[in-house]
């Protein structure tokens, strides 16, 4: 792979490494999506995660990838991003 470099056009007040999106302020009232990547035992794991999150005040929505091997289809990603405030993907093994 070629090494590509650019010069930073910004004021350089933030770190140069790409940053993740800001996290949620709290679970209460947020909708968390759980995306099952469809590997064995994943559903059981996420069932418990869902129940714990609900106890902490979050709304939970469940989704699953049609197959493990391929990345999630575009429509699924669009749906999740429209319906949820945050998403947890699992369980890869």
């Amino acid at each position: 792979m070629q090494n590509q470099t650019m010069l930073d056009p910004t004021s350089e007040l933030s770190p140069v490494e790409r940053q993740l999106n800001p996290r949620l302020e709290s679970l209460a009232g947020s909708t968390v999506g759980l995306l099952d990547i469809s590997k064995p035992r994943g559903k059981e794991f996420l069932d418990e995660v869902a129940s714990q999150l609900q106890e902490l005040g979050a709304k939970v929505k469940r989704y699953s990838k049609p197959t493990f091997a391929r990345v999630a289809p575009l429509e699924l990603n669009q749906l999740i991003s429209n319906e949820c405030d945050a998403v947890i993907e699992g369980l890869a093994d």
Partner: protein, 482 residues
């Protein structure tokens, strides 16, 4: 290698040079009799006659020693590889070389004279590439190294550098090339860009100018635009924070507009011309990236306007009797000047029937009334863009630009009673205290007149201004292009 003195020499050659090939026997002679380092720009196996040559395919030695021609023979400092200033010979000339080296009978079996070839350091595009390769430390900005799988265009989006349209990735070579467009030092600080009030260097302007798509020859104009935006009177910070529509509109006057081929004619306020498009955009990107001013952050404009991508054009200066905007503002016809106005979009003024300047002026005035709100006076400035056909109507009626300005002023004088809240069933209006006054739509120096556009079409335009105009807000500012 016996040397007759403690002098050492460096020879730069390239295989793809008939002269360098011709002098192979000379190289062998010199190598045997002098302290000589041979640098090869292309093929490290050349010349075959000697074993130890130095691979200069990176052109590092050639670059740092300003090699323009091959072969070049340099006399270096004793006991060092640092060459002394002018002590070199270029191209092959037996007499010169013998004198230079103190060695007789050089190349006695070959032609005594043959000019050299161009050094690889001077191939097209190479100066900037080599500058980026070896003068990297002159660029002070932080490097952003991409991960292997990152697409460089997407990377600019991911990092938030874009205004929504793709930007040109600012690689070191592109930035070096852009910086060559100005004599000003890359480290020179232009000013502090709001809202973060971070110092902005010429280098940062260049990086954003690259991203905007500017050519290096636009850089002096871009620098003038940034300087204008940072003038106090322009009130850039306030303009950024407003919920109103406005953002900088750039108008360029003078010889520079021809040098960089700006558009003042057909579709002047629209798309299609690289200089128009990218100069305006460069300012927006600088405000975004250097200043930190982004929509959703400090920019909370309710609706904004498309000019916030870019809004920049040059004025039509083809009529010597029509003073340019720069001239109105105290400059000479021959000065290259940028003027910035806190403005919104484009409001059409159609008038296809006025045959007299009087009638046309009334059309203009009637449309100008609606700037910001028909019942708000002295609040927003505006620019009236008179199209060439309307200019013709004025000229045929014997009117100067000054006369138009006066006529508009007179036409727009309005009694305060007509502008009171509630009048015409409209709650908006002027405060009570203005009830008994005669008001003008625009404050002093609040209405600017420029001319631009294609020669067909009786459509002029109004660019309305920010509702905080004047010394409590923004005023038009100008800056000479250096």
């Amino acid at each position: 290698m016996n040397s007759t003195s403690s002098q050492s020499y460096a020879l730069v050659v390239k295989k793809a040079c008939p002269t360098c090939e011709l002098i192979e026997p000379v190289i062998a002679q010199l190598f045997n009799q002098l302290q000589l380092e041979v640098y090869v720009q292309d093929d490290p196996a050349f010349p075959a006659c000697i074993e130890n040559k130095i691979d200069d395919r990176s052109l590092e030695f050639s670059y740092h020693n300003d090699i323009e021609i091959v072969p070049t023979l340099i006399r270096t400092q004793p006991d060092s590889t640092e060459p002394t200033g002018a002590e070199r010979v270029v191209g092959w000339n037996r007499e010169e070389w013998e004198k230079f080296t103190g060695i007789e009978s050089l190349g006695s079996n070959i032609d005594p004279f043959k000019p050299g070839c161009g050094s690889l350091t001077l191939e097209p595009g190479m100066p900037e590439i080599l500058a980026a390769r070896f003068k990297a430390d002159t660029l002070k900005s932080r490097r952003v190294d991409l991960a292997g799988a990152e697409d460089i265009m997407e990377a600019c989006y991911e990092r938030g550098w874009s205004d929504g349209l793709p930007v040109v990735p600012p690689t070191p070579v592109r930035v070096m090339r852009m910086l060559a467009g100005t004599d000003r030092s890359p480290t020179e600080i232009i000013g502090k860009v709001p809202p973060d009030y971070v110092e902005c260097s010429v280098e940062k302007v260049a990086i954003n100018a690259v991203m905007a798509g500017c050519k290096p020859e636009y850089l002096p104009t871009v620098l003038a635009v940034v300087e204008a935006a940072l003038q106090d009177a322009f009130c850039m910070h306030g303009l950024l924070c407003t919920t109103y529509f406005s953002s900088p509109v750039v108008i360029v006057n003078g010889p520079v507009t021809r040098h960089i081929d700006m558009n003042s004619g057909i579709n002047a306020l629209g798309q299609g011309n690289r200089a128009n498009a990218t100069i305006g955009r460069a300012l927006q990107l600088i405000v975004r990236n250097v200043g930190g001013g982004k929509p959703g952050g400090i920019d909370r404009a309710t609706l904004g306007n498309p000019g916030k991508y870019t809004f920049c054009f040059s004025e039509d200066e083809s009529d010597p009797q029509w003073p340019s905007l720069a001239m109105d503002r105290g400059y000479q016809r021959g000065d290259s000047v940028v003027s910035l106005f806190a403005g919104d979009g484009v409001q059409p003024v159609l008038d296809q029937l006025s045959r007299t300047p009087e009638s046309l002026a009334r059309s203009f005035a009637a449309s100008l009334r609606s700037v910001a709100h028909v019942k708000k006076f002295g609040m927003a400035d505006a620019i009236l863009v008179v199209c060439p056909e309307h200019r013709r109507v004025l000229k045929e009626g014997g009117w100067t630009k000054e006369k138009l300005k006066q006529a508009l002023f007179d036409e727009l004088m309005t009694p305060g009673t007509e502008l009171m809240p509630g009048v015409d069933g409209i709650a908006e209006g002027m405060p009570e205290k203005f009830k008994d006054k005669l008001l003008n739509k625009f404050r002093d120096d609040g209405l600017h007149i420029v001319t631009a556009g294609g020669t067909a079409g009786m459509f002029s335009a109004i660019i309305s201004g920010w509702v905080a105009s004047g010394d409590k807000g923004s005023q038009m500012v100008s800056q000479v292009v250096k």
